[in-house]
Amino acid sequence: MLKNILIPIDEACKRVIFSLGQATLLAMKGLGGIFIPPFHVKLTLREIDNFGSGSLFLVDLIALFTGMVMALQTIYGLSYYGAEMYVGSVVSLSLVRELGPVLTSIMVGARVGSGIAAEIGSMQVTEQIDAMRALGASPIKKLVTPKILAGMITLPLLTVTADIVGIFGGMIISLFELEIHRTFYINSVLSTVQMTDFVSGIGKTVFFGFLIAVIGCYFGLKTTGGTTGVGRSTTITVVTTSILILISDFFLTKLFLVVF
């Protein structure tokens, strides 16, 4: 009886650990490619464009509305203590430390991560990855490294814009709901948000960018079974990326709180 339950669990665990090992190996090779020539600058720039310009509008739109709704909720909450005036402090702190980085990463993870998995997955099932290797190129250096580098560069930049737009969204609501003057709002933001808050928020996104690229590449390269396989890979990429961003966010936050 117990055997019937334990054996499948045992096998699932083994599979997960094996995949983790493979993905880690891929991540290490991909990272190594950043330091070992030849460097594919052009490919990296193209990936940065893919990560960045397509996501910018999406990320900032989400940030704007998140900032606005945060302000609404915060004003409501703070009104119990008659502290509505400090809405700027609360909104900016949560955006810069947490919401900006995580929402941006999840959005980019869904948009770009699935794209990476689909691109590499279809290359895998049509033997283009094999062809690349047969023609003397390394798929790691040509595909994985540029994407990892692009993720690590682009996500922090996107997050900075999201933070700013989100805080701006909060300002609009404060103005309309409470008629808080923008100078007061900006001052309360600037006096609250410290360099460490900013660094801990942005620092996390470097890791999330790395994570998005690695997971997309990993499931892309693992794709088997034709076009349906590509579909499966994109789905599992989005799910895994979102989960791992939220889980690693907890641990990174804890780490930053201990260090700073």
Binding site: M123, T126, E127, Q128, D130, A131, M132, R133, A134, L135, G136, A137, S138
Partner: protein
């Protein structure tokens, strides 16, 4: 067509010694033994899923066997590191089953790819060589096209131009005529023979096309249940009394 005797004299440049391979517990190769001599065209027959593609991928180290040894151009490629393999792959061309053209690149960039990876050539020199290869496969002037704009037969020929770009000593064809109309198939068969005549290139052709087998190959190898069950000329194989070979050659096997 040269007689098989010609090749008995030349040296062995590809050798599989007791190669085993399984995927997730499913045995694909169960002790493959096969030698290929310099300059010969050998056809590899076998049913779908019998591991023909895996066999030629093992040959250039795209897949590592579990056990056994593979010697290519005097190099034992089993256990070779990726950098050494990349060098060796410059001497072996491969035409993939679906041509495997990079669909984000133009025809020109596809054929220029191995030049950029293996050789330090000027842009002008690359242009010249790409045009030369396209001419060889009868597709001059389509440099600017994207792979999506090409027909199946044209894709295969561009894939062929790419495979021979670095003038390899060995070329591997994975089902070069499958899915093509008879005219295109015939053209590919002619190209295979012509390339060997012009360049003396050693050739392995994976195919189901018995006409191609008969007209193109010097020898035929039959892969069945993870082993090479028969090797020989067409005449020898037609006289074989191994049931799998008989069924296959008379078309009684579902491929």
């Amino acid at each position: 067509m040269r007689g098989y005797e010609t090749f008995c004299m030349s040296r062995i440049i590809i050798e599989f010694k007791d190669v085993h391979k399984s995927f997730n517990g499913v045995v694909v190769h169960n002790g493959i033994n096969l030698s290929v001599r310099e300059g010969e065209i050998i056809s590899l027959l076998g049913g779908s899923g019998s591991g023909k593609s895996v066999l030629i991928k093992e040959l250039i180290g795209l897949i590592q066997p579990d056990k056994g040894e593979i010697v290519v151009l005097d190099h034992a490629i089993t256990g070779m590191n990726e950098n050494a393999l990349i060098k060796l792959r410059g001497h072996v061309g491969m035409l993939f089953q679906g041509a495997a053209l990079f669909d984000s690149l133009t025809v020109f960039e596809n054929i220029a790819y191995p030049f950029r990876e293996h050789l330090k050539l000027t842009e002008k020199e690359i242009r010249k060589r790409v045009a030369e290869k396209l001419k060889l496969v009868g597709l001059s002037g389509i440099e600017a096209k994207m792979p999506a704009e090409l027909s199946g037969g044209m894709k295969k020929r561009v894939g062929l131009a790419r495979a021979i770009a670095t003038e390899p000593e060995i070329i591997l064809y994975d089902e070069p005529t499958t899915g093509l109309d008879p005219i295109n198939a015939q053209r590919i068969n002619e190209l295979i023979v012509e390339l060997r005549r012009k360049l003396g290139i050693t050739t392995i052709v994976v195919t189901h096309d018995l006409h191609c087998v008969k007209t193109v190959s010097d020898r035929i190898a039959m892969l069945y249940e993870g082993k090479i069950v028969a090797v020989g000329t067409w005449q020898e194989l037609t006289k074989s009394n191994i049931p799998a070979v008989k069924d296959f050659l008379s078309g009684n096997i579902c491929v």
